[in-house]
């Protein structure tokens, strides 16, 4: 039984699951009671992928074969269940589990690779989490369709994708209203105000001592609760949402900037003193550059807060456009796929916003140990 020792546990378990699937055929039962879908090609693919380590191929070949086999199996499984939702038998789920285990095996193999070439390493670092995300979607799709969960409760990713493709104009209008008006305006105003007050607080010790404890406390408060009040004051359109965003982003910027301005070392400050440098010279040449990592941290925290603030504020009243408006009304109509589409767009927007900030940060604080990796 030497092969037991050579095979990884995922492969062994996958083989066991394939065997169980064999005993419980057919794969899928249609509404009419007939068997649907052919299990054989799927099982052959999976068994071959599981037994692959016995051949002792180079890692790269093993990974490549696993990649093709598990995704082909997953595609065949979903193709078999599509149209026969809810008709999955135990064998279907056994094969889904087997292919997931082999995908896990694939990710393990890829995680252990340490390629010398820099480009290849970056590719791997992107590929591994991407595979994780793809398999999350595959399992979601297979389980929702296999178990026959009503699409009205939890639509499969394919339907959400279809919905996104079919409602691009609506989504674009919502993004325009929520992100390009409320979020960006509020974010810019809130961050600028927080920064300006931080400089003031830095200049006047009394102000700093009074504001900092308050600022730190406010960051723990559910500020989002001011949303209904802002809607009442500034009306249904985007200015009220921008106001919420201003309030939410102000304090993180204030607290982080003040902390950052204190970050310059004692020796560096003494150096400026020996040059008899003035307050503004010290600020611009030493303390602001030293504070940059803190300021970018606040900018990044605020990017998420701004989106949350604008979307939640729209739950309290909007004109008939906007991401928060769409989410709350479509939930009411039980158009859950539209809600998911909107959430996917919000997630994408949030990631892009954050990613752009992170790129600017890398360029601006290239000297910081966390960026240059030293």
């Amino acid at each position: 039984m030497t092969f037991l020792r050579i095979l990884p546990w995922q492969a062994l378990l996958a083989l066991v699951l394939c065997a169980t699937a064999l005993l419980n055929l057919p794969l899928v039962v249609t509404d009419a009671g007939a068997a649907a879908g052919t299990a054989w090609p799927i099982m052959a693919l999976l068994a071959a992928a599981a037994l692959l380590p016995l051949l002792r191929l180079p890692r790269l070949f093993e990974a490549a074969f696993l990649f093709v086999a598990v995704h082909a199996a997953a595609w065949l499984l979903i193709a078999a269940i599509a149209g026969n939702e809810g008709g999955a038998t135990a064998s279907f789920f056994a094969l889904v589990a087997a292919s997931w285990l082999l995908a896990w095996r694939l990710v393990t193999v890829l995680s252990r690779m340490r390629p010398r070439a820099r480009g290849l390493d970056i590719l791997l670092r992107l590929l591994v989490p991407a595979l994780f995300g793809v398999w999350l979607l595959i399992l979601w799709e297979a389980i929702v369709r296999g178990a026959g969960i009503p699409f009205i409760l939890l639509p499969p990713p394919s339907l959400i994708g279809l919905r996104i493709a079919n409602s691009l104009p609506i989504l674009a209008a919502d993004v325009q209203q929520t992100i390009f008006k409320a979020v960006l305006v509020g974010y810019a105003l809130g961050c600028a105000a927080g920064f300006a007050v931080a400089i003031l607080a830095d200049r006047y010790m009394f102000l700093r001592r009074g504001l900092m404890p308050i600022g730190n406390m406010v960051s723990a408060l559910p500020i989002i609760g001011v949303a209904p009040i802002m809607v009442m004051w500034f009306g249904f359109d985007w200015p009220s949402k921008a106001a919420v965003v201003v309030i939410m982003t102000f304090f993180p910027m204030l607290v982080n900037t003040v902390a950052g301005l204190a970050a310059a070392g004692a020796m560096e400050r003494d150096l400026m003193r020996t040059y008899a440098a003035g307050y503004w010279q010290t600020l611009f040449k030493l303390r602001l550059p030293a504070a940059a990592p803190f300021i970018f941290n606040a900018l990044k925290i605020n990017s998420t807060l701004a989106l949350i603030g604008a979307i939640v504020a729209e739950f309290f009243g909007t004109p008939v456009v906007g991401m928060g408006f769409r989410i709350s009304t479509e939930v009411g109509r039980m158009n859950v796929d539209m809600v998911w589409a909107e959430i996917a767009v919000a997630a994408l927007a949030g990631s892009i916003f954050y990613g752009v900030l992170a790129l600017i940060e890398r360029a601006a604080t290239f000297w910081h140990p966390s960026v240059r990796g030293g």
Binding site: P129, M217, G225, P228, M334, W340
Partner: protein
């Protein structure tokens, strides 16, 4: 003590006083147009002081004066039966229960995920990027859907709200805990290596103690997030109970004083929760023999 008075108490009190003064000024400025309109229609002329007093005693002001909010808050907190629908203690307790439940789940889940990520390379490389990315996503947008979908399958009440709180609070804990478990310096790890310590021993004797400050710091963030989750989770349920529903019903009927009082109640709950977590952290660190900071 005098240092504390000079460095903290006086400046904070001064700033708070300035905020209250600005608030009064703001409430006069924002309520005056409506009051003027009212007076003109009623044909009333009043002295300046009478007019100022009137702007600060409207039943539904645009911006209620601080004392109006304070009176409302005190009345609804201390002088209402706990079962009353107007009792802020009742609403706060409803929100608090789902916050605490969600926070407890979230913390346990976050720690578990962090332990897995630190020990399994595959998870570190595949799951960690998603945890970081998911922090950039407005997760709160999911809240109404979770509530409605769970209600459709018959799950209502505490659990859906607690789930949202769990969801919001496990991210900070997981990220903070991963950082904490990885915080021991290389020399400390090398020292354990020279003792031929087992992975379990390294974990319990080095990684866990090193991670405690990180854990409590992230738990403070998590409990605040958890409260926000619970409040937002109360919005789509049609304003039944809780601080969130109080805010929503206040906005339906323009009861600004009620809304501000509910906001104050939410803030009090937040401060209490964060202070409690902070206190627990300090006690734990003292028991573990940490330096008093």
């Amino acid at each position: 003590m005098t240092d504390r008075l000079r460095d903290k108490i006086i400046p904070v009190t001064a700033i708070l006083a300035a905020i209250v003064v600005a608030w009064y000024a703001g409430s006069y400025a924002m309520n005056a147009p409506f009051q003027r309109d009212l007076d003109r229609r009623a044909g009333v002329t009043s002295t300046t002081w009478e007019f100022v007093a009137k702007t600060m005693s409207q039943p539904k002001p645009t911006l209620p004066a601080p004392h109006q909010v304070a009176v409302n808050f005190v009345e609804n907190t201390f002088f209402r039966k706990l079962s009353s629908n107007r009792s802020l203690v009742y609403h706060a307790a409803v929100t608090l229960s789902s916050t605490v439940l969600g926070f407890a789940f979230g913390t346990i889940l976050g720690i578990a995920i962090a332990v897995c990520i630190v020990h399994v390379v595959t998870l570190d490389r595949s799951l960690m990027p998603w945890i970081i990315t998911s922090q950039t996503i407005p997760i709160l947008a999911l809240a109404p859907m979770i509530i409605v979908v769970l209600a459709a399958v018959g799950i209502t009440g505490l659990i859906p709200k607690a789930l949202i709180s769990t969801y919001l609070s496990f991210f900070p804990v997981a990220v903070g805990m991963v950082k904490g478990l990885r915080s021991p310096e290389l020399t400390h790890l090398d020292l354990m290596h020279t003792y031929h310590a087992s992975p379990g021993q390294v974990f319990w004797k080095l990684r866990v103690p090193a991670s405690v400050p990180f854990l409590f710091a992230s738990m403070k963030v998590a409990v605040a997030a958890s409260l926000v989750g619970a409040i937002v989770g109360e919005l789509p349920t049609g304003a039944v109970a809780g601080i969130g529903s109080k805010l929503l019903s206040g906005s339906y009927y323009s009861q600004t004083i009620d809304m501000f009082a509910a906001l104050v109640a939410g803030s009090v709950v937040a401060v209490l929760l964060v202070s409690l977590v902070g206190l627990a952290g300090r006690i734990t660190e003292r028991v573990m023999g940490g330096r008093p900071a």
